[in-house]
Symmetry: none
Subunit: 220 residues, 4 copies
DNA sequence: AATGAATGAGGGTTCATTCAT
DNA sequence: CATGAATGAACCCTCATTCAT
């Protein structure tokens, strides 16, 4: 995970994302938490201020508007995870590794340190101003292209037959939804969850045998 | 689909759900539409009134509060789809039919006539008052039990190996998310979509051969 | 003054201006009073509400914004006085009568029943939104045209030699400023004030003798 | 105009008014400009700071409060013009010269280098704190006394018959209002404007003939 | 002097809800 | 049942001002 930290530190150093230990970074993470828990509109700037320990008015020294807070939460969340995903895909040696990277890192985006921000990105979309949507949409598109490229390769290579667009949408739904039920401190590790999802997508091992689970012949 | 209509008519007749052609029913359907499109808090009672053609104050002759509108949208949506699902499961002759019924009817709940209300149920949950949540949660639990029972059977019968809870959650995410991208007037029918999802869940036909798609041996 | 009342009543009946006895009319007149006394930005909607006896929120049932209140005060003030001025000019039989009408009715606009609204129109101009300024400017232009037409006539007829534009601007300053010092319950009637101003503009009587005041020959 | 500069330099040297080239003087002149253009309350200390090139907080090293800025703008504006007016009146050799000095120097105060500050003095009066008003009122009274003394003399000498108070008020309105329309770079010089106003006040030359304009006999 | 983060009071405005008509 | 004026709490945001650095 140190490579992950490196990427984050680089992004912080370059100013692309806010240092989480800075006051502004604290504000962003608390805001992401509240937006995730209660929704954007039900979260007041007073709530955020109280959580951070400053008065509501002071928030506007860091952000011009509540919308800009939301936008920043979304932007930085996707920038960080986009960078991580790119690095992971580049480091992956096989197509299967790349598939695993997509699933695994999206699970990490959803349930790891950036989980709340990621859920805000996914589920508070309508609360973002039109201008904000335009900006964030570009980043989301970049992110989706990573998925689609790998899924297309996998389909072309015969790993699966489902239309890549369709598969991506089904997976997006399934993976994003994990934030509503997955507990990092529960019995299942993120890696195990990743394996399960991968098995759903790629039921056969490369030798043609079913990937884990029971033998097909035992199914009635 | 006539059996579906029968169930709906019975529920209307019994007073369990509101007649959609009644003023109150109109209000509910317009409200569901607005809640779905803009979110519950961004939808004002003024918006709803305008859509229905009455003044905001008059809404409160039909519902005690805005929360009660949301609660009713959710309640009726789940009551209707719960009844349909029960009927479909009872009519199903095989385990595979029951699996197909679960997936197919959840897709229909999400993208058919009740789609907007179903999406509200799924994605506006946090906007519901605590009392509302308590009430609706019971109905959702009943609904989830239907899924879990069948998935357990399927797992026990060797159709699949994944933990039923886990599989349900992944499927819930994938299926509910379809409301964000599926277009009934697009190139893919709901039945075809249902088949694709089913193939993901049950990759092998009952004779042991892979279900559709390429032969395992062709996978590199 | 009954003709004045008739004009006002017609304007009220036609909906061009608000009935001063209606709640909305009350609000407008209190707002004009406060805007005049403290200025637009130092007057809060809470102040207006308190003055009228309603809560701040209720104001927005009558007006969409504070700016719309200001705009309405200005619009109705100029509509009323424009109508009065037109009627007075039509009723005037001689050029001198028309000059007297201009001065007299502007003094009445400034210091009569609409005095506060008129002062707001003149001195709170910058507080009006750009869109508001565009709207009101058209009405002001109409009003100014009345002045300029008569002044041009008077100049052409040899009543005076000063450029009509220049004279109008000097008079506008002098007359509007009366609202800061003239007291209707003081020793000087508006008619007397009108005469004094007229004497400034038209120093000679029609027989060529100086209009009131001392003989020129006594001036050293 | 060198005598004017001398007076100004003396006042700067004595500390009565701020050196316009000093940081504080810059701040005052920018503030006067903004107060004039947008009004006192619509001008924020942030605006002033931006104009001067410092941050809002730094303003309070020069002035205790925003009110003190306004008060200083007003005070120095009136101190300077009061001194000039006194000098001009002393230098005037005849009553008519004194009248011309009053009008001419008030026009210069309104439209010359101190024009913005003078307009602030006249039109932002209500924005000044009560204590500020008390202070500035004394200076304004001194200034008004200069006018009234000369006007009384002129009336007593038979130059005019209008009550000096009344005439002063009409002239104050007319002259102050010039700041809203007079353009120094337009076709009319301040001297020409001064002559026109003087002709309004003193229609007859000292030989009894009308002062410029057409002969009285030609007026119908 | 200058900075900039923080303050805290108050601004305009929104909105679900009530209720006399 | 419908209206629409009124409510009152809460909202986002602004801004003059303070103060440690």
């Amino acid at each position: 995970m140190s490579i992950t930290q490196d990427i984050k530190n680089q992004l912080i150093a370059s100013g692309a994302i806010t240092d989480p230990s800075s006051p502004k970074g604290q504000l962003l993470s608390k805001a992401a938490h509240l937006f995730r828990e209660h929704g954007f509109e039900r979260t007041t700037v007073r709530d955020i201020g109280r959580e951070v320990g400053i008065l509501p008015g002071s928030i506007f020294h860091h952000f011009r508007s509540k919308d800009e807070i939301l936008r920043t939460v979304m932007r930085e969340s996707i920038i960080l995870n986009l960078s991580r995903m790119r690095a992971a895909l580049e480091a992956a040696e096989s197509l299967e590794d790349r598939l695993r990277a997509l699933i695994g890192w999206e699970l990490y985006a959803t349930n790891g340190e950036t989980g709340e921000a990621w859920a805000v990105l996914v589920y508070e979309w309508r609360s973002l101003s039109p201008e904000g949507q335009t900006e964030i949409l570009q980043l989301r598109d970049e992110y989706e292209q990573l998925w689609l490229q790998v899924l297309r390769e996998a389909r072309d290579a015969g790993y699966m037959s489902m239309d890549p667009f369709l598969l991506r949408r089904l997976l997006a739904g399934a993976l994003n939804w994990t934030s509503t039920w997955y507990r990092p401190d529960g019995p299942m590790t993120l890696e195990a969850l990743c394996d399960e999802v991968l098995r759903l997508v790629l039921p056969y091992r490369s030798d043609g045998a079913p990937r884990g689970g029971m033998a097909a012949s035992t199914v009635r």
